[in-house]
Amino acid sequence: MAIEGAELIKAAAFLGAGLAMGLGAIGPGVGEGMVGAKACEAIGKNPEEAGLLTRTMLVGQAVSESTGIYSLVVALLLLFVV
């Protein structure tokens, strides 16, 4: 099984894509979970504001998900562009 340079680069790109998305998913996953946890806590303390708190939670999660989306973009670029 001879390995050529171009093939090695492509292989590295695949491995990089996997690692980028895999590792990149850890942070947002935990972070968004913390946002959800605090939102549940806040609703438990102050149920009248449930609607506002849910919206704030979604905005906060959307922002902390952006690093996950960057990982997705980088992984897709590594897979299909490089």
Binding site: G51, R55, L58, A62, E65, S66, I69, V73
Partner: protein
């Protein structure tokens, strides 16, 4: 074990393009649709003040999801989109529960069904957003926080479709595979009925609810 990946396909040649229809899934979806129509007919036929069994079930669905829609969208929009949300939940619930019956499977274990539902929710959410906020405010939403974030915002919106449809597909398909493999490993002894109840009934109901709630949330995010 040999059942994995065996599907009945209808391939239609359309002037060079091959269109593939998964006949199993089409038939199963129609079974669900006809079942719901029959249920709707019997639930709404000669309605009474003191409801019978079928009417009670129907009213529970409608009331619960209508009030959820009202919470999220407000009264005016809820009158318009409430029925959609209720129908979506009942359809997905029946789809996820259909696998309990012998020889039938879940239409939602095919990515095409869930992707179609996801795209439908996406299109509706953005249509409602444009209608409610106006095209200018809608487009301005993509320039937040600064204008060169536009491509990432668009990818962020599109990835919602992917996440909502793959979540349902992954859960239902994963449950199917686990039940199949454990049934095979234990020679159909003891465990499979409990696993079936857990994955098909319990997880199926939760995932149908999650999908419906997320569609509702996506609409609400576009409106506010």
């Amino acid at each position: 074990m040999e059942d994995l990946g065996k599907i009945h396909q209808l391939i239609v040649n359309l002037s060079g393009y091959e269109m593939t229809f998964n006949l199993d899934i089409l038939v199963l979806s129609w079974i669900v649709i006809i079942g719901l129509l029959v249920f709707g007919y019997f639930a709404s036929r000669n309605r009474q003040l003191v409801p019978g069994a079928v009417q009670t079930i129907g009213e529970t669905f409608v009331f619960q999801f209508y009030s959820l829609t009202e919470d999220a969208l407000g009264e005016r929009l809820a009158r318009k989109y409430g029925p959609l949300i209720i129908a979506l939940f009942m359809f997905l619930l029946m789809c996820n529960w259909l696998g309990v019956f012998p020889h039938l499977g879940e239409p939602t274990s095919d990515l095409n069904t869930t992707l179609a539902m996801g795209i439908m929710g996406f299109v509706i959410a953005h249509y409602v957003g444009i209608r409610e906020k106006g095209i200018k405010a809608y487009l301005k939403g993509y320039c937040e926080p600064i204008f060169f974030m536009i491509p990432l915002n668009i990818i962020g919106e599109l990835s919602k479709v992917i996440s909502i449809s793959f979540r349902l597909f992954g859960n239902i398909m994963g449950g199917d595979i686990i039940v199949l493999v454990v049934t095979y490993l234990t020679f159909s002894l003891v465990l499979p009925p409990f696993l079936t109840a857990f994955f098909f009934l319990f997880i199926g109901a939760i995932q149908a609810f999650v999908f419906t709630m997320l569609t509702l949330v996506y609409i609400a995010v576009q409106v506010h």
